[in-house]
Symmetry: C2
């Protein structure tokens, strides 16, 4: 139960002082960008946006808010798909931006790690790793603007999960400011350390409801030297799963990307994205964008990939395949995948689902989900694409081409319900990588095991007894 | 604060009923093995040992114990190095063995996963994976008797951490019975699922103090097809770290083992272990046991390994190297590493430390630690060996050859203190893979950040308000 209060002007002055020079924004034009989420689904109000530039200032701010029972909404790059960093409409929640905590504290190439503050953009972290001849493999569409603290708070996924894991798997340690302002320093970042409960994983993916991540010790990897990228026409999703399984074996688990793309998604991209070109001679119903990579100088890898694709052609699991012959061609293949969301926006309204099921069951799920969606929204176009290798597809519907936008959008609640019920029957997840934020709090209550929900609430209460941290996100502030 | 009570005979009868046929042992000879730990450091008493054969029975037992405030000590294969599964001397704590939950519930080779109940031995899990043409990479000395539930409860390490991670990294999902008897079913095992807090990582490594793990969904990997094993004389630990860094890069991160072995350890093995033979022509001060592996049929990997070793010989980082030419030779190399603990037992008393620091700082730590140890125990023999690739060495002292056993053992407290203080100065861990159990509760209190300890206590209290689960392990029952 949240017991937060409305902050009075004297308290805002106190926060201004604690946030330091240039640390508090309250002019309407400065505050405006923080009042709406990335997808423009959620709108809120706030008395101010705090922009401290050190962990100590974050700690002082949280200690004051804890004492005053003032609600705090942390924000990174504001790229959440679920309204995670948008305050509610009450105007009582202060926003805490981590953007000015943007230093790289250390880089250690020999030990394959670096320490970044929460406000570093993901791209900044990638580039620092790269200049140390290392790879930080987390990679997302929004990497130019999302911040590493937000990536960890939401346990971001992306296109390299198959090989390197989710954001949580890429972290050796965290620095977290607790809801009462104490600093939990878990930055040591040992690869082995069995001394008590693992606290780091509790804060990763908690979306700022248990504290504020202020710094991250990231795991680095040897940088890929050999990189082979293929755009492959697969017979169907079932054939894609079989191909992935075989590729993992024969390449020595070097598959770093395996993305499913249906023809309809490729057509949308070809229609709306400049310079997009069909990579194969004719149209096929399904494609996979496949990348295998290794830090070894390894001409044999291309041969293994080609031999496996040839075999798959003989088995009629693959119809045709193009291997990138150059960096620019590789970029062109990737662009076909990465511009799907943008292309889909040009096709009118869409109703989206971020679904995961066991990879093996994905083909059946897509088939059954498509039938279900078309029964509820005749004429809609199903665009099911994404991270097949992790069992995660973005199961999105675009409105019927000639249909009415509002009429289609009004179907969203019942389609979400039906799709998420289907996901539950497949023992899947209704939010594979996008999290809960404020958008999916009701879905979590509906689909999560009540025992698990109880444990989450017990932990929330234990760490944030006044409920000041990002209230109403992940868990409802006043359950029942 | 633990509020547990002494169970009366009527309650024991109730437990007998809940545990099912053959589910309760109370004859002294049956109970005896559970009253002492693997290293024979800890001795306890118990009214009975419960051996339920289903999750439902475990749940019923915990519900009853929760209500009656009866303390429960879970035990797997009883191979803890820290007295984790040994009851205290009060005779009021019942022991809960998971040994009869020993079914493999499912194996799914296509999705690279299997579900095992907690009481399956690690070897059983490895063998089931192997028969599905998959690898379960967790590997430890005690794998024939330790159980997968215990491996997860203690977040076991072992010799493949460098490549595949700790036990926690090898798990997709858990089934846990909570302290109040409710079953938390987190077995779905999706590779991506961002729906609320990650509860699984809280129970992994909690050593049975937050609940009882009853089943585990394990991640599987393609089985290695190409495996190259080398026994290498390295100039010193610093040269070993440099060699590891280069090998990770040039092999495409195919290094699955990198174990440091000092000459003194090899000599002990040659003295005491049957059929052990020196793999190189003459003696060198330091060795590394190195394995690179891939599921690809890959003759090039051996060439890369040989070329890298040749280069290292030119740089004088490596003095000599032997590559295993056959399976039996590989087994012989491994035997030299794996029998070190056994060989060391033949050398009299030992004082052990399970230390991790950043790999890059390990050479300096070993040098400084050796000086320190020899100041405190002149004539002792420092045997620092183990998982250099993860920054984890077992820094063990053997008594002086002609010295008095008891006199040497009496130095243990002050040597532990000095070594662990040194570890703290290196930002290291005093328990890299062995956990806390009852042996290191005081060390945790001394070295852990008080903020982290507070958070651990808050979580313990939130999930186990009566303190019935494995009281006194990890955290003291009555702090202060």
């Amino acid at each position: 139960v949240s017991t937060t209060r409305n902050p009075d002007p004297a308290f805002i002055d106190r926060l201004r002082e604690l946030a330091g020079p240039h640390g508090l924004l309250d002019a309407p034009e400065d505050v405006a960008p923080y009042l709406v989420d990335h997808r423009r689904l959620h709108h809120g109000r706030t008395p101010c946006v705090l922009r401290p530039d050190t962990t100590e200032r974050v700690a002082a701010i949280l200690a004051a808010c804890h004492e005053a029972r003032c609600a705090v909404v942390p924000v990174g790059g504001n790229t959440s798909y679920c309204g995670g960093p948008t305050p509610d409409a009450s105007g009582t929640q202060v926003v805490l931006s981590l953007a000015r905590l943007d230093r790289i504290r250390s880089v250690d190439a020999a030990d394959f790690q670096l320490v970044a503050e929460a406000g570093c953009t993901l791209r900044q972290v990638q580039e620092v790793a790269d200049s140390a001849d290392r790879l930080f493999p987390l990679s997302l569409g929004s990497e130019g603007s999302c911040q590493i603290g937000g990536n960890l708070s939401t346990n971001a996924g992306g296109t390299a999960v198959l090989r390197y894991g989710m954001a949580r798997d890429l972290v050796l340690g965290l620095e977290v400011v607790l809801p009462d302002g104490r600093v939990l320093d878990q930055l040591k970042g040992l690869r082995k350390d069995n001394t008590g409960y693992d606290l780091k994983h509790l804060f990763i993916g908690a979306e700022g409801t248990l504290g504020v991540i202020t710094a991250v010790r990231c795991k680095l990897f040897p940088r890929p030297v050999t990189l082979e990228t293929a755009f492959v026409a697969v017979r169907d999703p079932l054939a894609a799963v079989a191909l992935l399984e075989r590729l993992r074996e024969v390449t020595g688990d070097a598959v770093s990307t395996f993305e499913l793309v249906p023809r309809i998604a490729l057509e949308m991209v070809l229609r709306h994205i400049e310079r997009a070109a069909d990579p194969l001679d004719r149209a096929y119903p399904w494609y996979a964008l496949i990348e295998v990579s290794t830090s070894r100088d390894d001409p044999g890898l291309r041969e293994v990939l080609m031999a496996t694709l040839s075999e798959a052609i003989e088995r009629e699991e693959v119809a045709d395949a193009a291997l990138a012959a150059s960096g620019p061609q590789r970029d062109a293949f990737w662009r076909l995948r990465e511009t799907i969301p943008e292309a889909q926006r040009h096709e009118g309204a869409s109703i989206k689902h971020d679904v995961s099921v066991a990879p093996r069951r994905m083909p059946e799920f897509i088939r059954e989900g498509t039938e279900l969606a078309l029964r509820l929204a005749p004429g809609a176009r199903v665009v099911a694409y994404g991270h097949l290798g992790d069992g995660n597809v973005h199961f999105n519907l675009s409105q019927p081409p000639a249909g009415d936008r509002e009429a289609f959008e009004s179907l969203a609640p019942q389609i979400h319900r039906a799709m998420h019920d289907l996901v539950a029957r497949y023992d899947g997840s209704f939010s594979a990588e996008h999290g809960i934020g404020q958008l999916k709090v009701g879905e979590l209550e509906r689909y999560e095991d009540p025992v698990a929900l109880d444990v989450m609430r017990a932990i929330k209460h234990a760490l944030d007894p006044h409920g000041i941290m990002n209230p109403g996100k992940v868990l409802r502030s006043n359950p029942g």
